[in-house]
């Protein structure tokens, strides 16, 4: 009998139930989309912030970096310590390997380069442009400078790592040096040093920094020319990290000061200091230094963005809850005559409320399911318009949305039901 009445009510009032279901679907889809975007916004913004370049610098232990930025002479503080190139794939075998986005090795030397309009003493930098790697874990990936220097303004093309036939390699030249040497993309410069050769200029770049005065070539070429086979002087690593907190700051000072439990927490969280620590574990004689300019700022911006999104999500959830409960209240109230009739033929208050609640719950839940899938699509639209990549679907969203639908429906229908129950059948039916 109950089922019969339920089905009857649902089919007879198709229009009204459809309206409730639609509102519910709208609310649920917005909640799903907002929750999905909110949970993913950290990763997405983190990816965007990768355009600021490497946040970790790996150098040989004990070697002070050459203060080349401001033109300090060669020879000051330079040591003959190097990292081994064949250890680089190990970066992808650390605990947080998945968070290592890109990395590129560098080896520098000073050479004289001659071009069409003169000869200049300049810095020759060997690196990976877009190198294919097979890691010990069986993964294969491409990494190198192409992805790490996205802010470079390149005329022509990026160079590649292959050494062309006849000893000529492809390379890229900084804009300042290019104008001094008088070369353009497609041109050629030569390096007369030992084992030197010609460099095909694939592209001219402008970085706005000290690199504008140097020549970039494949790593193996510099290793050969400076007679340092297999050597790398530094590695730039770009990693996705979690914003720092107190624990991470203490660990960065001295990892040994942590208790066993704290140490486990720290090691298994993607703090920049723990990733640095893990890199030092796998690369012999290495020191990994967080580049604070990038690391600290990333943390600050990430936190602000997440907080902002959290506030906006709460706001939109509250708004959809308000809209839904309003509509539910309105549609229940409209049915006063029907409820009066039910009561007149002997239905108890409990029976009436159970019937109405079940009806609304079924409608709301079916709306919620539709809304959930619509919301997934919605999140993808936001992801693609804003970040150009899709938003990951997270399991946690489903129970949250289900709970929201349930609570909102209940809260929306309760006051209306209470009012209906206090109606007197005779008065309602008579139309007063």
């Amino acid at each position: 009998m109950f089922r019969h009445m339920l089905i009857g009510a649902l089919t007879r009032q198709r229009g009204r139930m459809f309206m409730i279901a639609m509102t519910m679907a709208l609310g649920a889809s917005i909640s799903t989309a907002m929750l999905g975007v909110m949970m993913d916004v950290g990763d997405k913004v983190n990816q965007e912030l990768k355009s600021y370049g490497a946040n970790l610098m790996v150098v040989p232990k004990g070697a002070a970096l050459l203060g080349d930025l401001y033109g300090v002479e060669d020879g000051l503080g330079v040591t003959d310590k190097y990292l081994a190139e064949d250890e680089l794939p190990k970066l992808k075998s650390i605990f947080w390997a998945f968070n290592i986005v890109d990395f590129a090795p560098y080896l520098e030397t000073s050479v004289s380069v001659s071009g069409p309009s003169g000869t200049e003493q300049c810095k020759l930098v060997g690196t990976w442009f877009d190198k294919h790697l097979d890691t010990p874990t069986g993964e294969s990936l491409n990494t190198g400078m192409v992805r790490m220097k996205s802010w470079w303004d390149v005329k022509g093309n990026w160079a590649n790592d292959d050494e062309a036939s006849g000893g000529a390699v492809s390379g890229m030249i900084g804009a300042n040096l290019a104008s001094k040497l008088g070369v353009a993309p497609g041109g050629k410069v030569s390096i007369p040093a030992n084992n030197g050769g010609d460099v095909m200029i694939m592209g001219v770049f402008q970085s706005g920094g000290a690199e504008d005065d140097s020549l970039f070539v494949p790593l193996s070429f510099v290793q050969r020319i400076s007679d340092r086979p297999g050597a790398v002087s530094r590695i730039e690593v770009s990693a996705l990290t979690t914003p720092e907190n107190d624990l991470a700051r203490r660990a960065a000072q001295d990892p040994n000061s942590l208790s066993r439990h704290e140490w486990d927490t720290w090691y298994c969280t993607a703090y920049i200091s723990s990733i640095a620590y893990q890199i030092e574990e796998v690369i012999t004689n290495a020191r990994a230094k967080p580049v604070l300019q990038v690391a600290e700022s990333e943390g600050a911006i990430l936190q602000k963005t997440q907080l902002l999104m959290l506030l906006l999500t709460i706001l939109s959830l509250a708004c959809s809850a308000l809209a839904i409960s309003n509509l539910v209240t309105a549609s229940v109230m409209e049915r006063s005559a029907e409820i009066g009739l039910l009561k007149a033929v002997g239905a108890s208050s409990t029976e009436v409320s159970v019937l109405i609640m079940t009806e609304i719950m079924i409608t709301a839940l079916s709306g919620g399911v539709v809304g959930y899938f619509a919301g997934r699509g919605f999140a993808q639209i936001i992801g693609h318009t804003v970040f150009g990549s899709s938003i990951a679907a997270r399991g946690l969203v489903i129970p949250l949305v289900a709970l929201l639908v349930f609570v909102v429906t209940l809260a929306g229908s309760l006051p209306a039901i209470r009012m209906l129950l206090s109606l007197r059948p005779a008065e309602v039916l008579h139309g007063r």
């Binding site: 912030l49 600021y52 002070a64 401001y70 000051l76 996205s150 602000k304 902002l308 708004c319 209240t329």
Partner: protein, 373 residues
């Protein structure tokens, strides 16, 4: 008569109307708050992005290696004071500690803290004339700690030797080149070198986007010919991409919330009108025509919209202020044009939400409604 009916209907049905007013006010609050925040995001986030450090460096133009500080002061006149975060001169010289050569940088520490907020200093920032800050690589190599006394020697610009006892007040760690520098006050370095008024570079941190920076750079080279301003591409370009994405994200989200609040207002208004079918029937029965009924409801909607809109504008300002204080720790700057716009939109939404139910209400047959069928 019209006004009297309007006012009395608002007063008589106090609780219903209060609910509707609440819905409209909440809608307007959200509307103004979100608009203010997404409007203000580039400025607020731009300030956050300044933690990446200088986005413009001033160097000497032409063949000169050294920049005259009077030229950079002239350049500073062009930069609007409001958007200037910090301006730090750096002068680099070679000094020796225990016969080992290091690069010493003379700077203004107050400004350096503003342009490079990411510097991690253990110990204290230098205050006295003879206080210095050493990079963490040097500290590791020489085993100096905050409080250590050191002896600095070198050659002044005229070739004479100098020697001075100094105190390490702190150790700076940045993970890049600063780790191998010694920092001291610019006037101290000037006194040691015997000349003053020059620097290698002046780092400038300006809260502005890439286009504004390009315009500023052009203005600076016009106004101060001795200075050649260069944008730090890594910082400016990345900031522009990230900021524009963030803004479009907040904008999209605001739009969604806005649509939701409109639906909320509309459903409330529909309920209000639906409940009054009987009243409409009565009015029609005693001779009101459809137009006057529609006019009454729309007038009510408009009144509610204006009241809710004004209330929401005030609340929305506080709402935006609260969000901004919580997230960014700074107040929000409100464009005054948003205020009348908010009131207008709330009136429009409320009236639009009334249209459909009013049309349906106007179609009722008085006799049927009054009889209760």
């Amino acid at each position: 008569m019209f006004m009297k009916m309007l006012v009395s209907s608002l007063i008589r049905r106090r609780s219903r109307m209060l609910a509707a007013l609440c819905a409209i006010a909440i809608g307007a609050t959200v509307l103004l708050g979100m608009a203010a925040i997404s409007y203000d995001i580039p400025r607020q986030m731009g300030r956050e992005f300044r933690s990446y450090g200088a986005n413009m460096v001033l160097v000497a133009s032409g063949e000169d290696a050294l920049l005259k500080l009077e030229d950079s002061d002239r350049a500073a006149e062009v930069i609007p004071e409001k958007s200037l975060v910090g301006m730090t001169p750096y002068r680099y010289e070679i000094v020796r500690i225990n016969m080992q050569g290091y690069t010493a940088a003379g700077t203004d520490f107050d400004q350096a803290r503003r342009t490079s907020p990411y510097w991690n200093v253990s110990g204290a920032w230098p205050k006295e004339e003879n206080d210095i800050l050493i990079g963490s690589d040097i500290a590791e190599f020489t085993r100096l700690a905050p409080g250590s006394a050191i002896n600095i020697t070198g050659r002044a610009s005229d070739g004479a030797r100098f020697r001075r006892d100094m105190t390490v007040s702190g150790i700076v760690r940045t993970g890049s080149v600063e780790d191998e520098f010694i920092f001291m006050r610019l006037d101290t370095l000037d006194a040691l070198m015997g000349n003053s008024g020059v620097a290698e570079v002046v780092e400038v941190s300006i809260a502005a986007d890439e286009d504004e920076l390009n315009a500023l750079a052009a203005a600076i080279s016009n106004h101060a010919p001795g200075v050649s301003p260069r944008l730090v591409k890594r910082v400016t370009q990345s900031e522009t991409t990230v900021l524009s994405k963030l803004q479009s994200l907040v904008f999209l989200v605001s739009l969604i919330v806005l649509v939701l609040t409109m639906i909320c207002v509309a459903t409330t208004m529909m309920t209000v009108v639906m409940e009054r079918r009987k009243e409409i029937g009565l009015k029609k029965a005693i001779g009101a025509d459809n137009r006057s009924i529609a006019a009454e409801f729309l007038g009510e909607g408009m009144l509610l919209g204006v009241m809710g809109g004004i209330l929401g504008t005030v609340l929305g300002y506080f709402f935006a202020q609260a969000v901004s204080m919580n997230v960014f720790g700074r107040g929000v700057i409100l464009d005054w044009r948003l205020m009348p716009a908010t009131v207008l939109v709330s009136v429009a939404v409320t009236v639009a939400a009334c249209l459909w139910p009013v049309k349906r209400a106007a179609d009722v047959e008085p006799a049927l409604v009054l009889r209760g069928e």
